[in-house]
Amino acid sequence: MMPETEKRTMQLNMGPAHPAMHGTVNIGLELEGERICGSEVGIGYMHRAFEKTVEHRSWNQVVPYTDRLNYVSPVINNVGYALAVEKLLGISVPERGVWIRTLMCEVSRVTDHLTCNGAMAMELGALTVFIWLIRAREILYGLLEEATGARLTVSWSRIGGVSADLTDKFLAGLPGAIREVRRAVSEGNTLLTGNRIFIDRTRGIGALSREDAVSHAITGPLGRASGLDYDVRRDLPYLAYDQVQFEVPLGEHGDVYDRFMVRVREIEQSLRIIEQCLAKLPGGPVGVDDQRVTLPAKDDVYSSMESLIHHFKLLMPGHGIRPPAGEVYQAVEGANGELGFYIVSDGSDRPWRIRVRPPCFFAMAALSKMIDGGLVADVPPVFGSVNMIAGELDR
């Protein structure tokens, strides 16, 4: 007599070291064959104690740490943090500073979307699209290096301004870069958007309804792909976004295909904003001239005693930038959604508490909902479309 076969589900860990997991995250899957019955997402493998470390640094020293939050779009983090502290101090950057910050934020957003789409395409096997989009990203990295000195972790903003104005070479090279990015994106589109295989692998996969997106507080391209019409740049304008024209692309089904297309259309909108910034860029200083935050010019420091003392007083521990005691919240549109900085100051030269509202944290909390009931093979595209950046998720 044949014994009864015992049927059990299988536990499988995807991660923390897994090729399809960009960054490190652990997805514990409970499988019945190929179908996922349940999943549990474990994060925290890249926790680098950002919020604790910055309590021991001065206000400008925090800027390099903010770079490494969402490291694919570092300028947005830098600028968001600087805006929050400037709000607390009650200072505002001059016109040119505002416009170049807007321009660089959009350049960073383009690099983020190129990386996300490229990596997602690579997961699905479209390695050519990955190579092309990364090639376009390389051109932007070259320009970033020209403007800020670093390709990736730029640490570009300062409280009250930026580290340096944009160079002529940067401004001259930008139109060519925009052309190349457009070309790469359109070539990638030719390969993917009507592609039967791509559509089969992404249509209807990992769908998230609008109600779920709202309940999980998911904003950004994910929220917009689910139909949530919210963009911090339009609804809570900061920098120069109220003076440029751009559309906010929306999706319908909230599946992986919609998220991919929303990002593609957002790249185009960001390029539009960059072109408008280039056209409208005013002259003038890029940083505020406020003695509480602005370092004096080096010529003065080396020739005048007062400037030397001023320079020291801005950099010595215990002195330096000291915003008034209080709290502030500043939201910017990160590449993944609303990136918020909640800063509490006690009036000293070090932050008391900086809380980063990481947009992909909320998306990852909903990841279980997106993959349950699907196949194991659906996890890479869904996970790629979430664009989890471990530096931001775990901070």
Binding site: K87, L89, G90, S215, A217, D346
Partner: protein
């Protein structure tokens, strides 16, 4: 309508504060506006009721953020308790943004959980527990999220030292003294 950025200056309390104080007179402590937000300070144990009310009457459907601030040693003003839990709500339809704060003492670091009302509260509360040790009653499974289970202590509290590591894998590199070790005397041995 374009929102003007504030300069961190508090303005007098807004409509949400007045309505909440009318509805829940004993639990609303303070309120002000920090454009574009409204801030309301309440008693910690009534957050679930207040959140439910905000949801029904103001259409606030999203808990955007939840965090904790440890005010031990704070020099910027008197604070009623050691911890302060901060909830940040938003309504996408009306654009209303509300920050609710509640003082939480060291002796009773427990607040009600919002995980039944908002799906985002689940992980946010786990992180608050992990980093600060604030308990949330009614949470389905309060456990660490960013640190590992073997870690002891709540690292974002002010009394946890920044560099105190609790390694899981044995470190075999010679010459690196453990945290807190006394430096070697010079000129000796």
């Amino acid at each position: 309508m374009k929102q003007q950025p504030s300069h961190g200056i508090r303005q007098e309390a807004g409509p949400v504060f007045h309505e909440l104080r009318g509805k829940f007179p004993r639990i609303v402590r303070d309120g002000w506006q920090e454009p574009p937000l409204e801030v309301v300070v309440i008693e910690k144990d009534s957050i679930a009721r207040v959140a439910g009310y905000l949801r029904e009457s103001w259409g606030v459907a999203a808990l955007m953020d939840l965090t904790v601030v440890d005010y031990q040693g704070y020099a910027g003003g008197k604070k009623p308790a050691r911890f302060e839990v901060v909830w940040y709500f938003q309504s996408f339809e009306s654009g209303r943004r509300i920050r609710i704060k509640a003082a939480v003492p060291d002796t009773d670091p427990v607040v009600p959980s919002l995980s039944g009302l908002y799906a985002s509260a689940d992980w946010l509360e786990r992180e608050a527990w992990d980093m600060f040790g604030i308990g949330f009653t009614g949470h389905p499974g309060l456990r660490r999220i960013l640190m590992y289970e073997e870690f002891s202590g709540h690292p974002l509290r002010k009394d946890y030292p920044l560099a105190k590591e609790q390694p899981l894998v044995e470190q075999v590199h010679p010459g690196v003294p453990p945290f807190g070790a006394k430096p070697k005397a010079l000129g000796g041995e």
